[in-house]
């Protein structure tokens, strides 16, 4: 069951002007709920951009339009800074012979996936370096006044990225990755496909191929954000996939369809955005469900196991856990 507001959001984002009101009762739209929904998916700037591009402003209240236009403008200005800072960062890394490839939102912006740079909300600048360069980048960032507030917790498996780095003279934080997904998930999707890109000697800004960005977007949502277990969807990810596909650089019908990619498209099938059919046989869906249940169970076992190990070996983790417990009781009593 899709609520009226989500139907409108989907229509505005993915359909043509003439189809925007298809299946939507515009008189019963609750614009407060539309704000809540769109902002929870980080889609307010994209909503404005599409309303503006498709000349749909007359369907929305004036104060609503004014508000989302403000959000869009702030986001656009921020993305202009993000692109500038990504280029500066790239120069700094090349000067120090650290090969790197931008990832996620920054890579999408740099690859011109969006016609309008104001529509994608991006938290930080993600990029990947080779494992071998980890020590060098730590020193380089430290020398260039980057720092991190993250406690360095012991991890059973290596983290996929160094702690998020902040610089007081920069607007956007950066996240240097050494892997794409964390822990055991890196066995499913990893940076092996980027080896050729790393070998390239050109000192230009590098981004992965469109098909790589496509896969990374889906695996990150399914595995890192647990979409595979909760069956939740993210309009930001759907929109990324839509934009990657709409440039005709991918033929969505020919993509590989493993269980994670299939699950992504099954979860969003109700929106009828993509021309793709995932057929599930009885045995197939039974297998998928069992697979998900086993994965969820092993994930929980793995989580508890790492927590217990960390409690024994890391003082910082014990302090962290103790703070959590104190906060929990403090909130309950206040």
């Amino acid at each position: 069951m899709i609520c009226n507001e989500e139907k409108l959001l989907v229509n505005v984002l993915y359909r043509t002007e003439s189809e925007v009101l298809k299946g939507v009762d515009i008189n019963n739209i609750n614009f407060d709920d539309l704000i809540k929904l769109s902002s929870s998916h980080l889609m307010l700037p994209a909503l404005f951009s599409n309303i503006d591009k498709k000349s749909l402003g007359h369907l929305f209240p004036e104060d609503f339009m004014e508000y989302i236009k403000n959000i869009y403008s702030i986001n656009k200005a921020r993305n202009v800074i993000l692109l500038k800072e990504a280029k500066e960062l790239s120069d700094l890394l090349y000067k120090n012979n650290i090969n790197h490839i931008f990832l996620k939102g920054t890579a999408l912006l740099l690859s011109d996936v969006f016609e309008d740079i104001g529509e994608r909300m991006i938290g930080d600048i993600d990029f990947i370096i080779k494992h071998l360069d980890e020590g060098r980048i730590r020193n380089l960032l430290h020398k260039n006044n980057y720092y991190s507030d993250y406690p360095n917790l012991f991890k059973l498996f290596k983290n996929k990225h160094l702690p998020r780095q902040i610089n007081k003279n920069k607007t956007i934080a950066i996240e240097p990755h050494t892997e794409l997904l964390s822990g055991v998930n890196s066995f499913i999707f990893n940076s092996t496909r980027l080896i050729d890109d790393f070998k390239e000697e050109t000192k230009a800004i590098k981004t992965p191929s469109k098909s790589f960005l496509f896969d990374h977007c889906i695996y990150a949502l399914q595995l890192e954000d647990k979409g595979f277990f909760s069956s939740c969807h993210s309009h930001r990810s759907i929109y990324d996939i839509y934009k990657l596909n709409s440039k005709n650089s991918l033929t969505i019908k020919n993509i590989k369809k493993d269980i994670y990619i299939k699950h992504f498209f099954i979860t969003i099938d109700k929106f009828k955005i993509f021309d793709i059919t995932i057929t599930t046989t009885f045995f197939g869906s039974y297998y998928d469900k069992s697979f998900r249940a086993v994965r969820l169970f092993s994930l929980k076992v793995y989580m508890r196991f790492t927590q217990i190990v960390e409690l024994f070996v890391s003082r910082k983790y014990r302090e962290y856990a103790l703070n959590k417990i104190i906060n929990f009781f403090y909130k309950k009593t206040s």
């Binding site: 104060d63 909300m121 927590q307």
Partner: protein, 57 residues
């Protein structure tokens, strides 16, 4: 605790209350998910550098 909450709702250094700020931005600001503001306000977004909670906590 209550006193603290009252103070946090009171005027800040710029002489504007949270209520005034929301009024100024329109009623929609109060309905906007916090994640949106975390990204848009760079300093806040940078300051949110809390590590991803260890799994399960």
């Amino acid at each position: 605790m209550k006193k603290e909450n009252k103070n946090s709702l009171g005027k800040n250094a710029s002489g504007i209350t949270r209520k005034d700020a929301i009024k100024k931005m329109g009623k929609y600001a109060a309905l906007t998910a916090v994640g949106t503001f975390m990204i848009l306000n760079p300093k806040k977004a940078q300051a949110q550098s809390v590590p991803p909670a260890p799994p399960g906590w």
